[in-house]
Amino acid sequence: MAVLDILQYPDERLKQLSVEVSNFDTSLQYFINDLLETMYAGPGGVGIAAPQVGYFKRIAIVDVSKNPKLVSNGCMILINPEIKKWEGMKIGREGCMSVPDFTGNVIRAEAIEVHAQNVEGKWQTFSCVGYEARAVQHELDHLDGLLFLDRLVSRRTDLFQRKKYKKK
């Protein structure tokens, strides 16, 4: 296992689209172990996406279970993930290991359902709410070459307590 180097914006590679994983072999398992170690070594340690370490495959990990106050699915290995349902909208503050020393407000869905393969290639569905749902959306954005910087909203926006629903 090894802690991998994190790409930092303005590295253009972070804007790259990651491709689907098709081989569920032992090298994938090794990579995921390294990715996990890298995530836990980071400042937040709640999520990471493969492109952040320069590996442009659709792999993300989210684990918010260290905070016992949060509703969580434990450690989620999300391969070829897809969000199937969105509900609610909420502003929260985000930062990113690939964007040091800056945090900003971003609107995310409050509850989502995400469909993804695990390390063996088996499909699973997770229902995520609140902070965990936010983390999943942040990491999945990385797979599409998007950073939270692409979704910043003004500080003043959170003066309005909005409640809106978006469905897809």
Partner: protein, 174 residues
């Protein structure tokens, strides 16, 4: 040696102030740091961190000229500026109520007592001219539990009809 200074401009709002000032700074080879521009009571205000390796005196003179041209008050101060010094807040406090003297003093003194460090404060006066309301948002960091901060604030201002609401800021680093 590059030196940071804080440039403050205040005056009547008009189109093009920021463009003109930033163009001059660019032409003079000055770097910009963090900045905050806002309209306060219809006035234009900006505070801007500026760093230059070139002749500061010339730069100050040229800025003064723009300020004179555009009817702005200008203030330039050498500072110990440093970038990358952001502190993360863990609480946001919203305060609102009928505008009356001393709201800010009361609230901020309570915050000092509970060890709450203010990182950001902004306030507005809304409502009608006859019955103005005061709205304030504070972000900061405190080790004191949220419930205790809330209790102290309520004890101090609830009797005056001032509402305070604290929300937790959980910054996600992903």
């Amino acid at each position: 040696m590059a030196q940071w200074f804080m440039l403050t401009l205040v005056g009547k709002d008009r189109v093009g102030i920021v463009a003109r000032v930033s163009t001059l700074l660019f032409e003079q080879g000055a770097h910009l740091g963090e900045a905050s521009m806002m309209r306060l009571g219809g006035n234009f205000t900006i505070m801007l961190m500026v760093r230059t390796e070139n002749d500061v005196q010339t730069l100050k003179m040229l800025l003064q000229k723009i300020a004179n041209d555009m009817d702005l008050h200008i203030h330039i101060e050498n500072i110990d500026g440093q970038l990358h010094q952001h502190k993360l807040p863990n609480m946001r406090i919203s305060v609102y109520g009928a505008d009356r003297m001393g709201i800010v003093a009361t609230v901020t003194n309570i915050l000092v007592e509970v060890g709450f460090n203010i990182l950001d404060l902004e306030s507005d006066v809304g409502g009608s001219q006859a019955q103005p309301i005061y709205i304030m948002h504070i972000e900061g960091y405190s080790e004191t539990p949220q419930e205790e901060v809330q209790k102290s604030l309520d004890a101090a201002v609830a009797k005056d009809g001032i509402s305070t609401r604290i929300s937790h800021i959980d910054t996600l680093i992903g």
